[in-house]
């Protein structure tokens, strides 16, 4: 039940006390210094975390000459909204943006497909070979992704039974993304925590394995599917090395690969506008789904394994 209730328990515990007791908080000296520390912490976080973002957004709409001469001054010669237009249309950020979304959505789909069907087999259906399968999946957790780089590249270059190279095709990103042992383990553990009585009741009502999966198990698993989805999407958006290796054709490359490539021949202001555009989506995504992000981040530290 641990992964299921992690969010609730954390909230419940938060309401109890922390390091500083209520008694200590009432002392004037401590109250003032705690407040002072909080303000300093807030200023530090604003400066360190929001500062670079502010500079990025500001420079994205500032004329290049101003940014080069005085990067910190606030629009000395007015704004250059044209940078955004240039980046979106002339540098073709729009196309790479679309590529990135296509790659992220496909990777998300295959990660969910493999994790949910796999988790269903390992946790609910439990055939005789489930133990072996589970061990094989968990084993890959111990293998760092470095090892896979070259052999995976050669596999994509010449995949078994297909006879055609997957290089420069979205499948080269989508399919390997599905092989995430972490997702399978996370989903299997969540399925393990679901009450078996519900499955039995559904079977009594005539549900076969497919409708049990689609109409009972999946709807009950929305929290974990949310976490996996958010992480799948963001991981795909962030990925750099693998897409750079297998997508050589600029027409299909995502932003993460294109941005370093266009840097040299792009005007600084326009380039920073391109950076700002490619940051906007994950940031908005984070602000909307922050609950999934933060619970998932805690999970990978405290519960993973």
């Amino acid at each position: 039940m641990s992964t299921l209730t992690i969010h609730k328990t954390r909230k419940a515990v938060t309401s109890s006390r922390g390091l500083i007791s209520d008694f200590e908080r009432r002392k004037p000296g401590i109250r003032v210094s705690v407040a002072g520390v909080n303000v300093l912490l807030f200023l530090f976080l604003m400066l360190a975390c929001l500062g670079p973002m502010y500079l990025l957004v500001k420079s994205a709409v500032t004329p290049t000459q101003d940014t080069l001469r005085a990067p910190l001054s606030f629009f000395p010669n007015g704004a250059a909204w044209d940078n955004l237009d240039q980046a979106w249309n002339h540098v073709q950020v729009s196309r790479y943006f679309l590529n990135t979304i296509v790659l992220a959505v496909g990777s998300w789909f295959f990660q969910l497909l493999v994790a949910t069907t796999g988790g269903y087999v390992l946790s609910v259906l439990r055939p005789k070979y489930a133990g072996v399968l589970n061990a094989l999946v968990v084993c890959t957790l111990f293998v760092p992704s470095v090892v896979l780089l070259v052999p995976l590249y050669l596999t994509v270059l010449n995949p078994p039974l297909l006879g055609t190279s997957l290089l420069n095709s979205v499948w080269a990103i989508w399919l390997p993304a599905g092989a995430s042992a972490f997702n399978v383990v996370l989903v299997t553990r969540f399925f393990d925590s679901l009450p078996r009585e519900v499955f039995e009741a559904a079977k009594v009502d005539g549900a076969g394995p497919f409708s049990l999966f689609w109409r009972v198990v999946l709807p009950m698993s929305k929290p974990i599917l949310g976490v996996v989805s958010v992480f799948a999407f963001i991981a795909s958006w962030k990925d750099f090395l693998w897409p750079m290796l297998v997508l050589k054709n600029p027409e299909v490359q995502p932003l993460s690969v294109r941005l370093p490539a266009i840097q040299a021949q792009t005007d600084l202001g326009v380039f920073l506008a391109a950076l700002a555009i490619s940051t906007a989506v994950p940031v908005v995504f984070f602000l909307v789904f922050q609950k999934f992000f933060l619970s998932g981040a805690g999970m990978s530290g405290a519960v993973k394994g």
Partner: protein, 376 residues
């Protein structure tokens, strides 16, 4: 027979009671009877649940597993009918559900892992392949760049520990005592983590402009420091990389620490207060010892991720200046995909296999720790 979970005990005992019934059942068979029964008499909850228990035992593989020992022999001796029985019981459906996992993991995980261990002992140009024994390993181990890359990776780790270890810890301890707007603090701290790493690196490259008009040099100029060469100098390059990496990663560590801080039992603080401990003493004698485990975990995670650092040196400096930021992963990349040398897949896999074995040890420690952690 000791049942571990209360919900499984019922079908188990039912299966023991009527083993021959459960063998003859088809998965679809008992269902209509069960549902008409439930519809016919609403009052008989007790007898209904007993009946359902038996139905459950027939349809569940889990319940039937108990009696499977003796039965499986009988099934296999009957040959062809065993297969139909297996299909009828849903064996085929299960395989259909397992297929995505088996295919995807098989082709894109298990096969490449095995292949990398094979390729480390081969030389290939994709047309012809020949076995060369330990030659690739010998070549990599005598490469003069390897000690350099190892030293650089170690230096990166050292700097990451000096800069990247205390900041999230102090931040998390302070943040855990924030009462109002804690959510805002967390969001701010986590924000850099969601920025795509490529964007962070390219943005910081702009900040690290070595001219006096560069962003950081302007900022430091206000307090009379600099200008610093940042990425262009072999002494400054590595600290610059680590600073950016810390900025990009600290938020995730803060969240891990915050979760650990919340689970520090309040009684420990209360006991310390009864003994007359002030805030500093409580931090020293309660908070930090309680975080020992999670600190060790983040330390291991730091080692694992540092050993695989690629993005920062590749995009910031390309390994320069004068190989001052060459890392192991950059070496692997250069062996396999660096155009000037031609592709040396054998050496690349040999180096990655060696790195992987070292890292696997650390991951094992990590999983051991987190497992005992979630139990306690």
């Amino acid at each position: 027979m000791i049942a571990t979970a209360s919900d499984t005990s019922e079908p188990r005992s039912a299966a023991e009671g009527s083993p021959d019934r459960s063998t003859g059942a088809q998965s679809g068979g008992p269902t209509p009877r069960g549902s008409t029964r439930a519809g016919a008499d609403h009052g008989g909850v007790r007898s209904g649940s007993a009946e359902r228990g038996r139905v459950r035992a027939r349809s569940t593989r889990r319940g039937a597993k108990l009696a499977a020992g003796s039965r499986s022999k009988a099934t296999s001796s009957r040959g062809g009918s065993g297969l139909t029985r297996w299909v009828q019981r849903g064996g085929l459906t299960t395989v259909v559900f397992a297929l995505p996992l088996i295919i995807i993991f098989g082709v894109f995980s298990w096969y490449p892992i095995v292949r990398s261990f094979v390729m480390a002992f081969q030389k290939t140009n994709l047309v012809t392949t020949k076995w060369v024994g330990w030659e690739n390993f010998a070549w990599v181990l005598t490469d003069p760049d390897l000690p350099k890359a190892l030293m650089n990776t170690g230096y990166f780790l050292l700097l990451a520990l000096l800069i990247g270890f205390p900041i999230p810890l102090i931040g998390a301890v302070l943040m855990s005592e924030v009462k109002k707007m804690k959510g805002l603090f967390t969001i701010l701290a986590y924000l850099p983590v969601v920025i795509p790493p490529v964007v962070s690196v390219l943005l910081w490259k702009f900040f690290y402009d070595g001219r006096p008009e560069g962003v950081f040099n302007t900022l430091l100029g206000y307090i009379g420091l600099g200008p610093f060469p940042w990425l262009n100098d072999k002494h400054w390059a590595m600290p610059s990389l680590v600073l950016e990496a810390t900025w990009a990663g600290a938020g995730a560590t803060v969240i891990i620490y915050l979760a650990a801080l919340i689970s520090v039992p309040a009684e420990l603080y209360e006991a310390a207060e009864l003994d007359g401990a002030g805030i500093w003493k409580k931090i020293w004698h309660v908070t930090l010892p309680q975080l020992r485990g999670v600190l060790f975990i983040t330390f291991i995670l730091q080692i694992i991720s540092t050993a695989q650092v690629f993005l920062e040196p590749y995009l910031f400096t390309g390994g320069g200046p004068n190989k001052a930021t060459l890392t192991i992963l950059l070496m692997i990349y250069n062996y396999a995909f660096g155009a000037s040398l031609g592709s040396d897949y054998g050496s690349a896999t040999a180096l990655s296999v060696m790195l992987a074995i070292v890292l696997a040890i650390f991951s094992l420690i990590y999983f051991r720790l987190t497992k005992s952690w979630s139990k306690s």
